[in-house]
């Protein structure tokens, strides 16, 4: 073995005769068996990376012939020999790559492998974020959020948010608030996802956010009647907004916001005490900017009236009677008017069930209240009425009605007719059984009062579903068939009277040409049939739907029927289904019911008469008088205003359950 160091080789030729070349040829060889020092370690410029890994290491030294270069190894396999102390590996596969390096000296000695550096290579971009705006219109920093992206490689590191194409943020979460105060206007936001290796996804679909920091102008004025005895009704001119547009208004009373509305008026039905109230209104735009206050408006409010002679009450009904929001402990209401379905009281022919009614009576007595019991026998009349076997051989002929009315009646319903003799037979049986049952509760000396706590006003006319006998229906087309006769109505004064007329043989064109008075006369004929058939029981007639053209019909009732049938209890009911505002206050119908109550009070006080030929719009000035014309009423004290006010929570509760309605009832008794 040659020792390490410098050695000299010499060669000369010799011929066959032994002669040798005159000189030697000389070659100097350096022998080096000592490896260079091991590189201290490999350093990666970046990991993870989306490009070729760049590696470097400190130089090695060699005591012998000196370092000539380095051998790069990827995952243990040599990939290149280099003379520098760095290397870029363009062929690195995706995933984790472990790099080591060995130094080489001029003699070819290799050092041991250096400590490794691991470089994660990821050339795949994350998925594209799906972005949504938190608010499409905003008054403050626009905010967006997005579903997190996924990355098949090293994982999402952060996102980049662009406003109108300009990067504005690099959040690591999946939401961003652009607090850089962009200018008012419409801005488009996109988001990209960036993984830890630097791969960036394509931009998301843009979301558009309108930034509006300019508040609307304040409403320039505020109007309301003062003094007033009804709920103050405020109105104001529309405000203007240069940005996203006026979206609504907030109403303030004594500086406290009591309501928001999208229209330029508001009725404050929430007052419970007389006094002076100051209102202001502020406009809001779609971005939530609020204007300064409008000029203030002070309203003097006083509505307390005590009057004798008329009962008012609240009736609340659900699809299942006597449950839910029907509040028999209502503090200031002395008459409650539950509505029962016939089918609930008499589920089978001759089989009666009065337990629910008994429970109501017990609750009313416990709280010192009285009941006005009403029974509906309209479209929700028991099915057994129409079967010859289930009705004891007396099936009822019904009107099959198909309606296109988009309101309360829609589709096909079946309604028994008031003049139907078989109906009157079954109904008389029900009333007789009820009268017998109620007699147990005490004094029934007055014919219309079955017991001390129960007043009986059967809904004696068939009606639509769940309602008392309507004096008008809504708009729409009605096609009815009764006992083989059919006809079509396309008028808004369709009512039970028309069906009666139809049954008498009139054609639809006839009805269309009839005057209001003729319709009323027809109606009265129907009432006659009913009243005369039910004389055996202390019955009365309940009317409902005092709206629209029904008001004119009511005039006929008031002017004729009440006086023609003395000693009967009349029930005039109008549905109170006011618009309920977002804050629970009542909308326009609250005004209407207030006017209704006020008209009753006026009539009670003046003892006025019913003029002939009044327009329907003036019905409220004649109806109370009509009630009174029947004679004396029971001497009960009434706090009408209190009743009006306290009704409102019941209305609000009714809105929640959807099928609850409230009605105000004015009940009088005609003179004997």
């Amino acid at each position: 073995m040659l020792t390490e160091g410098i050695h000299t080789y010499q060669v000369r030729a010799q011929d066959g005769a032994g002669n040798r070349s005159a000189q030697y040829a000389t070659l100097v060889v350096t022998v080096d068996r000592t490896a260079p020092t091991t590189p201290a370690g490999v350093t990666a410029a970046a990991s993870p990376t989306d490009t070729a890994p760049a590696l470097s290491w400190p130089a090695s030294s060699d005591s012998g012939t000196g370092v000539s270069g380095y051998r790069m190894l990827r995952n243990g396999v040599a990939v290149a020999d280099v003379t520098t102390t760095s290397y870029v590996d363009p062929a690195a596969p995706s995933g984790d790559n472990s790099y080591t390096v060995r130094a080489i000296d001029r003699a070819g000695n290799l050092s041991s492998a250096s400590p490794a550096a691991t470089v994660a290579v990821d050339r795949t971009a994350p998925s594209v974020p799906v972005v949504s705006a938190v608010e499409g219109v905003t008054a403050s920093a626009p905010q967006i959020e997005w579903a997190g992206s996924t990355d098949g490689g090293v994982g999402v590191d952060h996102y980049r948010v662009f406003r109108d194409g300009v990067a504005v943020g690099s959040p690591t979460g999946s939401a961003f608030s652009d607090g850089a105060s962009p200018a008012d206007g419409v801005h488009g936001y996109t988001v990209t996802a960036v993984d830890a290796a630097g791969n960036e996804s394509s931009p998301s679909a843009p979301v558009v956010i309108t930034l509006d920091t300019i508040a609307p102008a304040a409403p320039t004025s505020l109007s309301a009647t003062s003094p007033t005895s009804s709920a103050p009704r405020l109105s104001w001119p529309a405000a203007t907004d240069s940005g996203s547009g006026v979206a609504g208004y907030s109403v303030f009373r004594e500086g406290v916001r009591i309501a928001t509305t999208t229209v330029t008026s508001y009725t404050d039905g929430s007052l419970t005490a007389d006094g002076s109230y100051t209102y202001t209104v502020r406009a809001m735009d779609a971005a939530g900017n609020v204007s300064p206050s409008s000029p203030a408006r002070t309203v003097s409010y006083s509505q307390s009236v005590t009057q004798a002679g008329v009962y008012t009450g609240v009736s609340a009904r659900l699809s299942t009677p006597n449950t839910g929001s029907q509040d028999t402990n209502f503090p200031t209401i002395k008459l409650l008017s539950p509505l029962f379905r016939w089918a609930d009281l008499e589920p089978q022919n001759g089989l009666f069930s009065f337990s629910a009614l008994d429970a109501d009576i017990a609750r009313a007595r416990a709280s010192g209240n009285r009941l006005i019991v009403r029974i509906s026998c309209g479209a929700d009349a028991p099915a057994w009425l129409y079967g010859s076997s289930s009705s004891g051989g007396r099936p009822v002929s019904a009107l099959d009605l198909i309606s296109t009315d988009p309101g309360s009646i829609s589709g096909e319903i079946t309604i028994p007719q008031p003049w139907d003799a078989d109906l009157l037979h079954h109904y008389s049986n029900l009333i007789g059984a009820l009268q017998s049952h109620l007699s147990q509760f005490g004094d029934s000396s007055q014919s219309w009062r079955l017991a001390d706590y129960v007043y009986f006003v059967p809904v004696s006319m068939p009606t639509e579903v769940g309602s008392e006998m309507p004096l008008s229906f809504g708009q729409g087309t009605y096609t009815g068939t009764y006992k083989g006769r059919s006809g079509t109505w396309n008028v808004h004064d369709t009512n039970q009277a028309e069906w009666y007329v139809h049954a008498q043989g009139a054609t639809s064109s006839d009805k269309l040409s009839w005057l209001q008075s003729q319709i009323g006369q027809a109606w009265r004929n129907a009432v006659d049939v009913h009243m005369q058939q039910l004389t055996a029981a202390p019955s009365a007639v309940a009317y409902g739907g005092l709206l629209g053209d029904g008001m004119a019909t009511a005039r006929w009732i008031a002017g004729n029927d009440v006086s023609r049938y003395p000693s009967r209890l009349w029930s005039m009911t109008t549905n109170l289904q006011p618009n309920v505002n977002a804050d629970g206050s009542l909308g326009p119908y609250a005004d209407w019911s207030s006017a209704f109550s006020g008209a009753i009070k006026l009539a009670l006080q003046s003892g006025g008469v019913v003029p002939d030929g009044l327009l329907a719009q003036r019905w409220h000035s004649e109806l109370p008088d009509a009630v009174l014309r029947g004679g004396a009423v029971a001497g009960q004290q009434l706090q009408l205003a209190a009743a009006h006010r306290q009704r409102q929570p019941a209305v609000a509760a009714g809105r929640k359950v959807g099928r609850l309605t409230a009605s105000m009832r004015v009940t009088g008794r005609s003179a004997p």
Binding site: Y9, V11, D15, N19, A22, Y24
Partner: protein, 187 residues
Amino acid sequence: MGSIRRTPPRASFLAAVLAAVVLVLPQVADARVTSTSTGASAPAAPTGLTAGRTPTSIAPALSWNASSGAIGYRVYRNGSQVAKVTTPTYSDSGLTVSGSYRYAVRSLSQSGLLSSASSAVTVVYDVIAPSPVTGLSGPSVTNGSLSLQWSAATDTGGSGVAGYNVRLDDVYLGDRPPPPRTQTPAC
């Protein structure tokens, strides 16, 4: 070249192998022999003539078997007598020029008759050194075995290059025959 092999040391001497050159000597005419055809008979020609090493760079050393009855011998180089000797040996120190020389001897009887010529031997006389080795190459640095290469030397003296002397650090390693010229010295 390029073959780096680790090999065991080789101490054996590799002798040169030379091909013998056989020359055919022409018959030497001797007037004295041909003129004495009566009286005593001519002695027999000497046998066993050898010339020592050939090729050679020193005086060829001839020797042959003694002939009975001979009183002397005549030595011929390329047909010309170059020496008279009484013993059956002769060293031809008269050569100065490298070349191929043919030798034969005759014996001289007491009666003065020369024998016919012995069988001839040829000697290659070479006093010209081969050309120096050129083109010696090999790694300047190594961590193991190495190979040396050089160009073939030439020899004009007639004997041809028989091998090469290799030294490492002034120590003689041995000779290497001409072909092949790439060798791996022990180291």
